[in-house]
């Protein structure tokens, strides 16, 4: 397979435990590959693996192979046979050290000091993605947006207020902050890049008043508008606390299903009611709906945020993925222009922005397919699934070049 920003062009193959030798023989039979070395002893050996060569890891029963796509497909087919000695095959992912901060400048995350992009943008890989959300309609339903903000004033933005007597103009700040994370410009007037999908078409729905509060009705109205406008993604950094034992809203669940059927994915904040380690709150409404992607918050040390709600319920209420949600820098209404705040509200638009990148990367990635793409590409974390779901959301890598041109730009 082609090498990309996120993959090496090689495959990892898992062999049936206790039958490694048989698995290796099957691998050779299927691909004609030579076994270069069956012991991982030489530094740098892996980086120079030739085509149709494999290294076997005897102790763990796996192999690393470089082969053509057709051979990879043949391995995949073999793994699906009953009692196969080959259990599964995956592209070898590139891994990076995720920046860990120590000293923390007042008011910002350490990882943001002197960086070209905030720690959150870097942690979800948006700075390395070849995609920018172009052509994708992303709705942020919140307290509105500072439409005159220096980073947004030149941008074409669709907006509407669903709060009686209130304009879209954000007098709270929360909505401007969330919109900035999801789709802030790749080149802010000042400071590091803080947005994920800088070229997405932004739809701003004011569904919360300037005091930050609202109700189901205005939120549903905003969702209805966004679906009617053909938005592929809706970001909801809002909610209502749930109690243990509460069932999810069947109306919101049905709405989310209808939205998925229309090609719209709804992403919502898991909630901030926990006080870890003493108390873990259940995921809030409406994120607790099974058809809505629920997002937990992690900090730049990849630890679960102390306020982040957890997937405690048996029926719905699961956390799907996690994203940066502590000390997140983003846009803020003028004159302050930028602010650093925390919450699952901040984590949610990271996922929404990454969703826009995936949607741009594949026209078929809509609705439930898009949801699956986000969840399956999350980076596993050494934390309970009830806290972080499948892990840290990750942006798609650079698209394959065609005729020497990067297709993502």
């Amino acid at each position: 397979m082609a090498e990309s920003a996120n993959t090496t062009g090689r495959y990892i193959v898992l062999l049936r435990q206790g039958r490694t030798d048989d698995g290796v023989r099957d691998l050779q039979r299927i691909t004609g590959a030579s076994i270069v070395k069956s012991e991982s002893t030489t530094d740098g050996q892996y980086t120079t693996l030739e085509l149709n060569c494999a290294i076997v890891f005897d102790h763990i029963g796996a192999a690393l192979i470089r082969c053509e796509v057709a051979a990879g497909n043949a391995i995949q087919t073999a793994s699906q046979q009953a009692q196969s000695n080959i259990l599964m095959i995956e592209p070898e992912r590139r891994v990076h050290a995720i920046a860990v901060s120590s000293n923390r400048p007042e008011g910002t995350a350490q990882g943001d000091a002197d960086a070209q992009a905030t720690w959150g943008v870097r942690a979800c890989g948006a700075d390395h993605s070849g995609y920018n959300g172009q052509g994708i309609r992303l709705a942020v339903l919140d307290t509105g947006l500072d439409l005159q903000h220096q980073d947004f004033a030149q941008r074409q933005i669709e907006s509407r207020s669903f709060v009686t007597g209130a304009e879209v103009q954000d007098e709270n700040g929360h909505g401007t902050h969330c919109a900035g994370i999801a789709a802030g410009t790749l080149e802010p007037v000042t400071g590091p890049r803080y947005g994920v999908a800088g070229q997405a078409q932004l739809y701003i729905g004011k569904v919360l008043g300037n005091d930050g509060s609202g109700g189901d009705g205005s939120v549903l109205d905003g969702i209805d508008w966004a679906v009617g406008e053909g938005c592929e993604i809706i970001s909801l950094s809002l909610g209502s606390p749930a109690k243990e034992g509460d069932s999810y809203s069947h109306i919101f669940e049905e709405v989310a299903k209808r939205a998925l059927a229309a090609g719209t994915l709804i992403i919502a904040a898991a909630g901030n009611e926990s006080q870890r380690p003493d108390y873990i709150a259940p995921v809030s409404h409406p994120a607790n709906c099974p058809s809505i992607v629920a997002v937990a918050a992690i900090d730049e040390h990849m630890a679960i945020a102390p306020f982040s709600s957890g997937g405690l319920q048996n029926d719905g209420g699961q956390v799907d993925v996690a994203a940066p949600g502590v000390d997140v820098l983003s846009s803020w209404p003028s004159p302050k222009n930028y602010n650093t705040i925390s919450g699952t509200s901040m984590a949610t638009p990271f996922v929404a922005g990454v969703a826009a990148l995936f949607a741009q990367s594949d026209p078929a990635a809509r609705g439930s397919v898009l949801r699956d793409r986000i969840v399956q590409n999350a980076h596993p974390l050494p934390l309970p699934q009830q806290d972080v779901g499948r892990g840290l959301v990750q942006a798609p890598g650079r698209p394959p070049a065609v005729n020497g041109q990067d297709m993502g730009s």
Binding site: G212, G217, G228, L238, S345
Partner: protein, 72 residues
């Protein structure tokens, strides 16, 4: 009389008769404030003791009281 703010979801099979369902709920005393046709639901308010009558209207899939929402 206490009035409750709520949302009414129209059954999938009744979405083409959306306006009929809305009108039937109005006849039960509901003040309809928002009609969300893309998703097949509408919201408004009604006297608390009439909520049960709303659920019995043909074409109504679900009725839920409004929850307060906050940013998080």
């Amino acid at each position: 009389m206490t009035r409750i703010t709520l949302t009414v979801l129209v059954k999938e099979t009744y979405r083409e008769r959306f306006s009929v369902v809305v009108e039937d709920c109005r006849r039960q005393g509901m003040a309809v404030e928002r009609e969300m046709t893309a998703l097949g639901l509408f919201s408004g308010n009604i006297e608390a003791e009439k909520v049960t009558q709303l659920r019995a209207v043909e074409g109504v899939a679900a009725v839920e009281a409004d929850r307060p929402m906050r940013n998080c």
